[in-house]
């Protein structure tokens, strides 16, 4: 006998949308339109470099929040 437990889908949907935004910012068209500049320098780094690091950190924070919100079934 197989017993299933349903969990709300909204954390997964919200997380997928958030990752989609982060991903678009790191490739064409988001990166080309908004991140492809040398100046201003951010902490000594050219803007295009700082832009990439910023979105990598944003994806990391999103994953941390999702991990905190998701139920055990959403996690696998």
């Amino acid at each position: 006998m197989i017993r299933r437990e349903q969990e709300p889908a909204w954390p997964r949907v919200a997380f997928a949308c958030y990752l989609g935004v982060c991903a678009c910012a790191l490739v064409w068209p988001g990166y080309a339109l908004a991140g492809d500049r040398i100046e201003p320098f951010v902490l000594g780094l050219p803007f295009a470099f700082a832009w990439t690091i910023g979105w990598v950190l944003a994806a990391f924070l999103g994953l941390l929040v999702f991990h905190g919100l998701a139920g055990p079934k959403d996690r696998g």
Binding site: M1, V27, I38, E39, L45, A48, F49, W55, F60, P72
Partner: protein, 498 residues
């Protein structure tokens, strides 16, 4: 003691330390093939974190990335992007694979897919594709180790002999301890590399330019094209957004499909260990930032290195640095090479034996014979990779991108096995064959591509289309499918007690 003796002495001490750390766990793992391949499923979070981190912190990271930043500028930023996103699918796939591994005794990705579809050809095809991707990846590590020893001995040890010495050490501890030896050396090497990467990534711009900001200001004045996305192409002209974007997509999807990552899911002590590893994994991406700074610090450095991939050892040996620092950093680069090379060779030989020899060809082996065969294959694979390493003359970075083309073709098969009820064995097999064929066609004949996109992306699209189409026309109920998917999803499948 002369400078070069100090440098070589530090590297020698480091290699001996790796050997000792790598060989100790061999006494604790059980004497079975499962102990050798899956570490008796006992790896905790710390070791899991570093063993998976080693897949990105390879010789490619320590030598290929600085080389790419040096020669193609912002193009190298793509590694940060795929390092951040590439492991996220594993947050969902990894725990499912671990549950199935515990329930059915899987130790390889191919076994997991084959069991769902009761298909013998699938693991055989996956084993062949794995070997096709792993051997070049291993060659990167051996070639990188050769570069380092050659530079640190100022040419006294040739690249070929250097690669042979370093991988002789790897061979000994992988043969002795299997995956547990790989795990503990990766932990030791990972901590060592992170400290060195930050130290050198901040020190070199400071020593050569007066700081990171000043370095980038000078590059912005003299070589601004290197700091604009997406950087330069291999020919030195402005890079293409299509190539850059498709390379990020292929590597991000392919990252979680590497067969050795799945093998690590089967070695994990618990699902929580896998999830925590994925959540913390982007930290490795952030640790790549100083490595990019090292590459950029070489842009205005004179004299220029003979090859872009040698920019790091070239700078280290050309500037007035304490031999102790040079020795430590060269040991760090060796760590990067060894920590990936050991995991790769261990995984590839285990896959060829389990998926190719035992599952696909149906040969019976007792546990000791299997362990022995895996060890023989480790020697064969290292030999083949060594041969390739010193015949290949392109960049380490491009070789890595090439390896992702076949690897990304595994993802539709894995997702189909773990999630999609309507998928069938013939569908998965058709997807794999069509996807790899299209990838090979466009990788070998890039002029045939309709648009300038990564060959692996064309293969991936063809793979998904073939899987969907063939599954639709061959759909039938598969024995045990319901229970398999329920175990993967973490549903309660225990029989009620009467």
């Amino acid at each position: 003691m002369s400078d070069s003796r100090i440098v070589v002495g530090i590297a020698a001490v480091y290699l001996v330390a790796c050997l000792v750390i790598g060989m100790l766990p061999g006494r604790r793992a059980s004497d079975s093939a499962e102990g050798y391949v899956a570490g008796d499923r006992t790896l905790g979070p710390l070791v899991m974190f570093f063993i998976t981190g080693a897949t990105i912190f390879s010789a490619f990271a320590f030598l290929g990335m600085p080389g790419k930043a040096y020669s193609q500028g912002a193009w190298a930023f793509m590694v940060l992007a795929y390092g951040a996103f590439g492991f996220i699918p594993f947050y969902f796939l990894g725990p499912r694979a671990a549950r199935l591994g515990r329930e059915y005794g899987f130790v390889t990705q191919g076994q997991m897919v084959a069991h769902r579809f009761h298909s013998l050809p699938i693991p055989g095809v996956m084993a062949l594709i794995s070997a096709g991707a792993f051997v070049p990846y291993l060659a990167i590590q051996i070639k990188g180790a050769g570069y380092v020893l050659n530079s640190m001995t100022q040419g006294a040890v040739s690249e070929q002999v250097g690669g042979a010495i370093v991988y002789g050490v790897v061979l000994v501890y992988v043969l002795k301890s299997g995956v547990l030896g790989v795990g503990w050396t990766n932990t030791f090497q990972g901590i060592f590399m992170m400290v060195l990467a930050w130290a050198m990534g901040l020190y070199l711009p400071y020593a050569l330019y007066g700081g990171v900001g000043e370095m980038f200001r000078r590059i912005a004045e003299e070589r601004p094209e290197l700091l604009r996305a997406p950087g330069l192409g291999p020919d030195g002209a402005q890079g293409s957004w299509g190539e850059y974007t498709s390379a990020v997509i292929v590597t991000s999807i392919g990252f979680s499909a590497w067969p050795h990552l799945f093998m690590k899911a089967f070695t994990a002590r618990s699902e929580a260990t896998i999830r925590r590893t994925v959540v913390l994994y982007p930290i490795f991406s952030i640790f790549l930032v100083p490595i990019l700074l090292i590459g950029f610090s070489g842009v205005l450095f004179e004299p220029a290195p003979a090859q872009a991939d040698q920019v790091l050892p070239h700078m280290l040996m050309s500037i007035e640095l304490s031999p102790w620092i040079v020795g430590l950093f060269c040991a760090g680069a060796l760590a990067a090479s060894m920590s990936s090379g050991d995991a790769i060779v261990h995984a590839c030989s285990s896959i060829l034996v389990r998926d190719g020899w035992i599952t696909a060809l149906g040969r019976k082996l007792d546990t000791h014979a299997e362990r022995r065969l895996i060890r023989y294959l480790i020697v064969v694979l290292l030999g083949a990779s060594y041969g390739l390493a010193f015949h290949y003359e392109g960049s380490l970075f491009d070789l890595l991108l090439y390896a992702y083309g076949p690897v990304v073709q595994f993802m539709p098969a894995v997702v189909a096995a773990l999630y999609i009820r309507r998928a069938t064995g013939p569908g998965v097999l058709a997807g794999l064959v069509v996807g790899v064929s299209v990838n090979i066609l466009f990788a070998v004949c890039p002029d045939l591509r309709p648009f300038a996109l990564h060959a692996g992306l064309y293969g991936f699209v063809a793979n998904v289309a073939a899987l969907a189409l063939v599954s639709a026309v061959t759909r039938r109920e598969i024995d045990g499918e319901e229970r398999y998917l329920a175990v993967a999803a973490g549903d309660d499948v225990r029989e009620p007690s009467s």
